[in-house]
């Protein structure tokens, strides 16, 4: 027996010689995305198995990327994505993807039926009308907030390509942002805030992993359903980046451990992030196909433009529609106009009239026939606007385009003017008189022309204000209106 034990001890020693033994304990500092607080138990295992302690210094991904580009003193960075860093910096540090999570909407089950399989346009439309109220992290700081802005703006531009600066000249984000009730500094903080204010709102915009973790936390009175915006997924892949080349050996040890099937499984089970290792069998909630990714913008300029639009959110907004109701509009034209208003009020997607917006309707023929102002405060106001033109009569008194516009300028305030006409001016002020009366036009003016309207005169006035003419002669009026919605 003793001899047997001795033989076994020798074997054990030889085997022990095959491994390098317990490695030196070492501590690395890591600039990390705020939601990675949930990795604590995984990091404890990492420390136990490899001797490496990672000290996470957490903040929003966008802010962290700004700091990285400027230079930091951390050993590693571990962010939701390195895409924001790549927009800013030529040199990308050594990077290894560690886990995956798409940006989603966590929606209360009562609301989720209406949004299952939704596109970003559906989300924006419901948000504009006050039917979807949500929390979303601040895109100036947080990757999840910025990913949402990019998702909405890319889908709204509808080019099928990555967003370019010229695609965001008109702001299509405001409808979506109308639904944003509260913000927070990061994906983790927005979830905490959601827990506090869950009775006030319907949804939270964040990563799939945080929604699933929230459901599992027992803190919710009504569970959230994950809604994947099918036309524009932004997928985070959590690259671990080596900032100090002299920490290479330890970095390798950490990466190697993180990519083992057992660590990948542990990450999945504890944080609900998807494993990067395809061999690791996924849990039920993480098998859902996540849909088409959007192409990510190639320049920082696009991101800056989106942030400017974000900063405008919540400003009331005012638009004056100057609508030709002379008899030449009879038939398909007036029908098209009524349909456009019905659509923009009920289902306009990114272009839907939104809560807080003031819509002024100025109907004219030979003179101004009616001025009606609607401050949208509820769904009932939207419905009122949808039918506002259905019984409006046409008048056979001529077409006083410039007098009507003159009237609009007197009521426009800080807003924009959209003029729709199909005829030539034959009453009231002339274009020259109008331009003389308004040497410095108070509002940007867009003109939508159809039929016989004089494109040269309209263009002259619109351009003088920084606006332009959109031709609806060939296409639909609705498309023409959508083209200039959000342009200020």
């Amino acid at each position: 027996m003793r001899a047997g034990l001795a033989a076994l001890s020798v074997a054990a020693l030889v085997l022990a010689g095959c491994t390098s033994g317990t490695p030196e304990p070492v501590t690395l500092t890591v600039l990390a995305s705020s939601e990675l607080a949930d990795l604590a138990p995984v990091l404890a295992d990492l420390r136990r198995d490899t001797g490496v302690e990672l000290k996470l210094d957490r903040r929003g991904t966008v802010r962290a990327s700004d700091e990285l580009a400027a230079g930091v003193d951390h050993d590693l960075a571990w962010l939701a994505t390195n895409r924001y860093l790549r927009l800013k910096s030529a040199d990308l540090p050594l990077s290894t993807s560690t886990m995956l999570s798409p940006l989603v909407l966590g929606v209360k089950q009562g609301q989720a039926d209406a949004l299952r399989g939704a596109s970003w346009a559906d989300v924006a439309g419901r948000a504009a009308a006050g039917e979807l109220r949500f929390g979303m992290a601040d895109p100036r700081v947080s990757g999840s907030g910025m990913a949402a802005l990019i998702g909405v703006a890319t889908a709204a531009a509808g080019t099928g390509a990555a967003l370019r600066a010229e695609d965001v000249t008109c702001d299509k984000l405001q409808g979506f942002l109308t639904g944003r009730v509260f913000g927070a500094d990061g994906a983790a903080e927005v979830v905490d805030e959601y827990v506090k204010r869950q009775d006030e709102v319907d949804a939270v915009v964040t990563y799939e992993s945080t929604v699933l973790s929230l459901n599992a936390s027992g803190q919710l009175r009504e569970p959230l359903e994950v809604v994947y915006p099918r036309d524009g997924i932004v997928l985070s892949d959590y690259p671990l980046m080596l900032l100090k080349p002299d920490k290479r050996a330890v970095y390798d040890r950490v990466v190697q451990w993180l990519r083992t099937p057992s660590a990948q499984r542990s990450i999945m089970e504890r944080t609900h992030r998807r494993p990067v290792d395809p061999q690791v069998e996924r849990t039920d909630g993480l098998r859902e196909p996540i849909g088409t990714a959007l192409y990510f913008p190639g320049t920082q300029q696009v991101v800056d433009t989106l942030l400017a639009a974000y900063d405008r959110a919540g400003r009331s907004g005012r638009v004056v529609f100057v609508l030709d109701h002379s008899t030449s509009m009879a038939g398909a034209r007036i029908a098209g106009l009524r349909e456009a208003f019905a659509t923009l009020s009920r289902a306009g997607g990114f272009d839907r009239f939104r809560l807080g917006e003031t819509v002024v309707l100025v109907r004219f023929a030979g003179t101004v026939l009616e001025e009606r102002s609607v401050v949208i405060g509820s769904a009932a106001d939207l419905e009122g606007l949808a039918t506002a033109l259905t019984t409006a009569e046409l008048a056979e008194t001529g077409t006083a385009i410039w007098s009507a516009l003159d009237h609009a300028y007197r009521v426009v305030g800080e807003g924009t003017v959209v003029l729709m006409t199909d005829g030539e001016n034959n009453a009231g002020m002339s274009a020259d008189e109008f331009l003389a009366a308004w040497p410095a036009p108070p509002a940007r003016t867009y003109a939508i022309r159809f039929g016989e309207a004089d494109p040269v005169e309209l263009d002259r006035v619109a351009r003088a204000t920084g606006g332009r003419v959109v031709d609806a002669t060939t296409g639909s009026l609705l498309e023409a209106v959508k083209e200039i919605r959000g342009c200020r």
């Binding site: 076994l8 927009l87 509808g158 997928l235």
Partner: protein
């Protein structure tokens, strides 16, 4: 409070001495079983030559490369190298084009850029001994419904085979679809809902060899099947620039992610190397008994065989080069990982596929570099397509 005093005398009980902890049954059985297993394991390791390694002296070889990290990370490759006294420590350059930019490339024992254009540049710049262990065509991986949509438009033709895994892609027509602004949704009334414009998602031509080589293939197609020259490289670059702007910020290579459960989200259609796809299908067939019918390959009709050179800068690096070029175990494993042997041998990946009952693709005939412009002309085009913050490679 007064303490209660006891009147009883303390009793002293004599116990039998305990049995040694090693002799207890509760210990002996589990220990005996696990020790037995360990012993069997040790014997097995001895037999395979692994356990003797600490006594043989292992050479640690430091290497830098991009996508060929996959080859050296393979367990079987590591085992064969280890049995030959070599352990490779890898540095992932994050793209082959980064290797020549690295000041201390020659401080590694060897580097392995993914293709010959970059390899030649490194060799010209810093010397070293080149080895040519394998080649692999640059191809486009796609999910089947996307390939079928292209087939219906007569932009791709299926190659013969039972599982219809391979298509030949008509590059000029494919490039035309992108330049026309067609979306995947436009292609098929009945299926694809993807409203993105048609492209093969490609890694950054500034950073990745596959990105640069794909740009060359696109340029050839867009230039009426002529290789751009110094005279027209700039103009051709300007013509294909919109195509590369569709994707905005380039993604990382999809050689790994395409094959995961979220592959469609990473890229439904994208540039990879043939070996990455073949290795996946060989693995899938071994594991499940059948190939994955949902992922297919499109072979560009004007194709490029990438030849990753192993450029050695030390005796240890040369040893790895020679092993890769001459060791039959490593060559067999390279074939199983989907590589073609090129100059290094006549054994074919076709045989490996046939043995496993997997369709054999036809990558098209031709010279390995038939469609590539001169390196300086490619540089001109990459600069024109632009956005190389770290400078234009090559």
């Amino acid at each position: 409070m007064v303490a209660k005093s006891s009147t009883e005398e303390p009793a002293l009980v004599i116990l039998d001495p305990p049995r040694s902890v090693f002799r207890r049954k509760r210990f002996l059985l589990p220990f005996g079983v696990s020790a037995g297993i360990a012993l069997v394991g040790a014997v097995a390791l001895f037999a395979s030559g692994v356990i003797a390694l600490p006594f043989q002296g292992i050479t640690i070889v430091r290497a830098m490369m991009a996508s060929k990290v996959e080859f050296f990370s393979d367990n079987e490759v590591r085992r064969i190298l280890m049995a030959n006294g070599v352990q490779v420590h890898l540095t992932d350059s994050g793209g082959s084009q980064e290797i020549p930019r690295t000041e201390e490339a020659a401080a590694f024992d060897f580097v392995m850029p993914s293709g010959q254009l970059t390899a030649r540049q490194i060799h010209d710049k810093v010397g070293g001994t080149p080895f040519y262990p394998f080649t692999t065509p640059l191809v486009i991986a796609a999910f089947r419904d996307y390939a079928e949509a292209l087939d219906r438009q007569d932009v791709a033709d299926p190659q013969p085979g039972e599982d219809k895994l391979y298509y030949t892609l008509k590059m000029p027509e494919f490039v035309g679809l992108t330049l026309d602004g067609t979306t995947w949704k436009d292609l098929s009334e009945d299926g694809l809902t993807n409203a993105n414009r048609i492209i093969a998602q490609s890694p950054d031509p500034c950073r990745a060899y596959s990105g640069a080589a794909y740009l060359a293939l696109v340029a050839f197609a867009a230039n009426g099947r002529n290789v751009p020259t110094a005279a027209d490289a700039k103009a051709v670059g300007a013509r294909i620039k919109p195509l590369f702007e569709v994707e905005g910020q380039f993604g990382a290579g999809i050689g790994r992610t395409f094959f995961g459960p979220d592959g469609r989200t990473f890229a439904p259609v994208g540039v990879i190397y043939e070996h990455q796809y073949l290795a996946y299908q060989i693995r899938t067939k071994e594991r499940t008994g059948s190939v994955d019918p949902d992922r297919v390959l499109l072979y560009p009709d004007a194709h490029h065989h990438a030849e990753p050179w192993l450029i050695a800068f030390s005796e240890a690096g040369e040893k790895v080069g020679r092993l890769l070029q001459e060791n039959t175990d490593l060559q067999r494993r390279a074939l199983e990982l989907g590589f073609r042997l090129g100059r290094a041998g006549s054994a074919s990946v076709g045989t490996v596929l046939t043995e496993r009952g997997i369709d054999v693709p036809d990558p098209g005939a031709g010279d390995t570099e038939a469609f590539l412009p001169k390196s300086e002309d490619l540089t001109t085009m990459i600069a024109e397509v632009g956005r190389c913050p770290g400078g234009v490679p090559l």
